[in-house]
Amino acid sequence: MLTFQQVTKKYSNGRVALDNVSFHIDEGEFVFLVGSSGAGKSTAIRLIIRQETPTSGDILFEGIKVNKLKGDKLARYRRDIGIVFQDFKLLSARTVAENVAFVLEVSGKPYSFIKKAVDYILDLVGLSDKRNAFPATLSGGEQQRVAIARAIVTEPKMLIADEPTGNLDRSNAWDIIQLFNKINNWGTTVVIATHDTEIVDSLNKRVIRFENGRLVRDNVGGYHF
């Protein structure tokens, strides 16, 4: 489904964020991208969502070169993947329901469909009673749930999350990871960048580890396996 082919990302200041990295993620997999700060996991995420382009190498999603996508094709690709950010990236002037509905609106879905889908997803993430609340009035965990709801409401083929538990307490972090696990069990590929050892250890999923931009480990097991 997702392939990194000898991907290198070098910034203009000379720092090498990713150095000749190759890996492949199959459909339905649950993968953790781990490593210390600056190891390259967030860069990998930014490359997957095409916020940045690699200096060399290719990133393929279902055989299509993501790094070559532009315009409408890029927009369509981004609608095929769901993205969850550490800082949630919610629209502060819109309610919970409006934030979730927004991605369906931009893809041109009819309002009747949007309403049903939003009701269903908010119920799934346990925020039905907060549908008319604004993000600023929610806790960190609730905001992250909204972000997840927004990411999965389009039924993406792959869900990408960059440090989704970074701003949450243990209890909320655990709830969020359970939610990701549930989504993965329905068949959605999940890729999470994190340095939360406890969570990685508890799930026993595939781990891709980066150190100084290099891929140093790719197997199933705990954080320090």
Partner: protein, 316 residues
């Protein structure tokens, strides 16, 4: 189509959230259109006036109403042979009657003109065209010394001099100069105001973009099409231009109606003075055309300004 209407909705949300600047942009646009329209109308009016002055016979001579055909031909020859005139046009009594009726549409006054005796007191009008007023003055001097003309051709009952200038050279040159002044000043003012309006719309759209930068980033990341992100800003610019154009045009039309329909003194007098100028009839079609034109210009200015702003500030 659904996405289009959603983009329209977003455009109105942007305007609403940034209402202060939106109102300022619209008002500046309205004011600009108002001033430009006043100049435009003044220029159009003065151009019609210049055309009228230029087409108007330079000298009008009242001849006797009972002038025979032979005498008419003789008069034409008399004037033409001087070499001072460009064209001579001797009208008939019917023309005089119509001209009088046009100026004094009272049936009681027109009635005596229908009788056979009318030719004894109604003059035949001759229009003399020339290249300069000096030549016309020379012609008057010549005719005054011509005994046959003074005795048998000129209408001595109604007039006490050989002819009247339709417009003196001074009047004509004032009208032409005014027209030239309006066109130059109007062009400069139009360019200046439209540049100012464009800049203000540009700034408004730029600030709106900055205000919604996070929203733009999120829209981009969740897969909104480029046009879906940009279109609300362009539409915002168009709305400022169109609303400004509609407001100013409405103001002009309302002011015109107030002036013409409620003023009992100034406008009718002015109309009497310039009554013969072929002013266009202000009907609904002309008003609709005026609206379409100003709205089109407003939309164009708004779209261009906002388009430049999004080219510069929305990168994705």
């Amino acid at each position: 189509m659904r996405k289009f209407f959603r983009a329209v909705k977003i455009a109105f949300q942007y305007i609403y959230r940034n209402w202060g600047l939106s109102v300022a942009s619209t008002l500046v646009m309205t004011l600009s259109f108002l001033i430009v329209s006043v100049f435009g109308i003044a220029f159009y009016g003065s151009t019609l006036l210049v055309q009228y002055v230029d087409s108007k016979p330079a000298l009008t001579i009242f001849l006797r109403g009972d002038l025979s055909d032979e005498q008419r031909v003789k008069f034409e020859q008399l004037v033409t042979q001087t070499g001072l005139v460009r064209e001579v046009s001797v009208k008939n009594l019917e023309f005089t009657k119509e001209d009088f009726a046009k100026k004094y549409p009272d049936p009681e006054l027109i009635k005596p003109l229908e009788t056979e005796e009318a030719k004894s007191f109604m003059p035949i009008i001759a229009f003399i065209y020339s290249d300069s007023q000096d030549k016309l003055q020379e012609l008057i001097n010549y005719l005054e010394k011509n005994e046959e003309f003074m005795k048998d051709m000129i209408d001595t009952k109604n007039v006490d001099r050989v002819g009247w200038y339709s417009f003196s050279e001074t009047q004509a040159s004032i009208i032409r100069e005014t027209n030239r002044f309006i066109s130059i000043v109007g062009t400069i003012v139009t360019i200046m105001l439209f540049v100012i309006s464009s800049i203000l719309i540009f700034i408004t759209v730029k600030l709106t973009i900055n205000y919604h930068r996070r929203e733009i980033e999120i829209m981009d990341l969740v897969g909104a099409d480029g046009w879906f992100i940009r279109f609300p800003f362009v539409l915002g610019g168009i709305i400022y231009g169109v609303v400004g154009a509609v407001l100013s045009t409405t103001l002009i039309i309302v002011s015109r109606n107030l002036l013409f329909e409620t003023s009992q003194s100034l406008v009718p007098r002015l109309l009497e003075f310039f009554g013969e100028v072929p002013w266009p009839t202000i009907d609904n079609y002309l008003i609709i055309d005026f609206y379409i034109f100003t709205v089109g210009v407003g939309a164009l200015i708004g779209a261009l300004s906002s388009f430049i702003a999004i080219l510069k500030y929305v990168k994705n």
